[in-house]
């Protein structure tokens, strides 16, 4: 079930969303799934799911291997910490987490892929890359988090 959702999200993210012409940015489905799982199920499942998602991205794109795996595992773990204080119908915290996670993720990419090459124009990147990504991810989180939540409830039953 989880593996299936992982692969499905990956395929949608890479093959379907770029086809939609009016989206200037696209939500990072794998990231949303990872932190949702970590948030609902705790540290370890979050890390395992994050590892799976990160490996998919690493295997898919060239570059140093493990670049994505690392950040996804970290995000899975960090969100797992907050699983203690989660309430079932409480959507504000996941939304807040979404913003924080997206921010960490993009800053991580910026630092290791752009800053080290001497690209210092951080404000531009924040406004033109990070902000749209966060907004779109927030919109998708509203739907996807609900979906993960109900799905995991059904599995528990």
């Amino acid at each position: 079930m989880y593996v299936l959702s992982l692969v499905l999200a990956f395929l949608i993210q890479t093959s379907v969303i770029p086809l939609i012409p009016f989206l200037s940015s696209s939500p990072n489905l794998l990231l949303i799934l990872t932190f949702s799982i970590g948030f609902i199920h705790g540290n370890l499942p979050g890390m395992i799911y994050g590892l799976g998602a990160g490996l998919l991205l690493d295997l898919f794109y060239s570059g140093p291997f493990g670049f994505y795996s690392f950040i996804f595992v970290v995000i899975g773990y960090l969100n797992g910490i907050f699983s203690n204080i989660y309430y079932e119908e409480y959507i504000t915290l996941p939304m807040l987490m979404c913003v924080v996670n997206e921010f960490i993720y993009h800053v991580y990419i910026y630092i290791f892929r752009f800053l080290i090459r001497g690209k210092y124009d951080l404000p531009y990147y924040l406004v033109h890359v990070v902000l749209p990504a966060i907004v779109f991810s927030l919109m998708v989180t509203l739907i996807l988090y609900r979906f993960v939540f109900t799905a995991s409830e059904k599995i528990d039953e």
Partner: protein, 418 residues
């Protein structure tokens, strides 16, 4: 640990990548096709599935052919001049290409990379150049069995060694994320005294290690001195449309392969002789192709001029175009003595091509030029380039004279003044 490992040894993850790719890529192209199909359906509200299918197949084919045709029509006028100046055209025509479909894109705005559905089993290799819509798109960075990853030239990490087509001054075309939304790339490292101007066509350079020479990248704009007043830099508007990529062409030839051939040919003085042998053999192989190409060129020379004048950035191109070959030669040659002989030569060439249907005269003229060339070869090394240029022109003339099979085409070309 894995990051370090893969940084040290690049190929270590290839088996795993291949396995995953082997499993996922069919899905990916499947999902891609399904997604595309749904999208098409919604857009057009078509109920006849069969018609849709057939239409899709046909439009794919038409798109591919139109793209190829566009590229030919755009570049053939330019190539006509290149033929005389750089002798590049033969190679450009002969680049063998594979068509591939874009099946996935990096969904984030940080990187401009995409994946195509052809891999090592289709003959794709790392560092092969990718083009579409009449311009350079990117370079293959990663190859699996049935997929390959391509980094666009608009990616922030992309650097392409390029040159202006008019003056062959070299420069670097760099992708820049901050310019991405304005649809521009950055041109840097132009020499301060270089004559690259606004509207110049920028093509891949012949000194690039990874890009095969002569592929159109785009047009230069806003070229000016940089802050330190040591070099010039500017912006480039790419020739290809990056928003709407669905099919691309991968050039099979690798630049690193051609190093071997070029080293053999260019160092020996018989390089022009090789050219002569090459061309008739080629025309014998595919008479129709050559004939049609030449016919296309004939029709297109005026077209490209019109094109240039319509193009808002193209004013300067046309000016240089109309000025013609001698002007460019003067620009590129250094000493005044050489200038004179150079213009003399090209003038003679002009008059000879102006006369139509007098093959014998031209042949004897070409023979007259032979000793001139021999004399020059004894001169300094720096002049060797110029000699090659004249040799190129000469080859061209001889080829036309020899190639009596295509009488009609010949006349067409001869009627066209240089």
């Amino acid at each position: 640990m894995m990051i370090v490992l893969s940084s040290v040894k690049d190929g270590i993850m290839n088996p795993i990548r291949n396995t995953i790719g082997y499993v996922l890529v069919p899905f990916q192209s499947g999902v891609n096709k399904v997604g595309f199909g749904i999208y098409e359906n919604l857009k057009e509200h078509r109920t006849l599935a069969e018609v849709e299918k057939e239409n899709k197949e046909l439009s794919e084919k038409v798109g591919l052919l139109t793209e190829q045709n566009n590229r030919l029509t755009q570049d053939s006028g330019e190539l006509e001049r290149l033929r005389e100046l750089y002798q590049l055209d033969q190679e450009y025509m002969q680049y063998e290409k594979i068509a591939a479909r874009v099946i996935a894109k990096d969904s984030e705005n940080w990187f401009q990379v995409f994946r195509i559905d052809k891999g090592s089993k289709d003959g794709i290799r790392v560092d092969q150049n990718v083009m579409a819509n009449g311009g350079l798109i990117g370079i293959v960075t990663d190859v699996g069995l049935n997929y390959a990853t391509v980094r666009s030239i608009i990616d922030d990490e992309s650097r392409v060694s390029a040159m202006g087509i008019q003056s062959s001054d070299t420069c670097i075309v760099a992708g820049d994320l901050t310019l991405y939304e304005r649809g521009r790339l950055r041109i840097t490292d132009i020499r301060k005294d270089a004559s690259i101007q606004e509207g110049d066509r920028i093509v891949t350079s012949n000194i690039s290690a990874k890009f095969v020479p002569g592929i159109l990248i785009g047009y230069a704009v806003d070229v000016k001195e940089d802050d330190k007043r040591l070099m010039k830099d500017g912006y480039l508007i790419p020739a290809a449309d990056f928003n709407d990529l669905s099919e691309v062409l991968v050039i099979k030839q690798l630049k690193s392969d051609s190093f071997l051939d070029e080293n053999d040919g260019s160092l020996s003085p018989t390089a022009s002789g090789d050219g002569i042998k090459d061309v008739p053999a080629n025309s014998g192989d595919s008479n129709i192709t050559v004939a049609s190409t030449w016919a296309g060129m004939e029709g297109l020379t005026p077209l490209s001029e019109i094109d240039g004048s319509v193009d808002p950035n193209g004013d300067l191109i046309t000016a240089a175009d109309i000025a013609g070959t001698p002007a460019v030669n003067q620009e590129s040659s250094g000493s005044s003595g050489r200038d004179e002989s150079e213009t003399e030569e090209s003038e003679r060439e002009n008059t000879s091509s102006g006369k139509s249907s007098e093959k014998k005269t031209r042949e004897t003229e070409a023979e007259d030029e032979e000793p001139v060339r021999a004399e020059r070869e004894t001169e300094r090394e720096t002049e060797r380039e110029t000699v090659k240029e004249t040799a190129a022109v000469e080859t061209h003339a001889e080829t036309r004279a020899e190639n009596s099979g295509n009488g009609a085409d010949e006349e067409l070309i001869e009627e066209n003044p240089n």
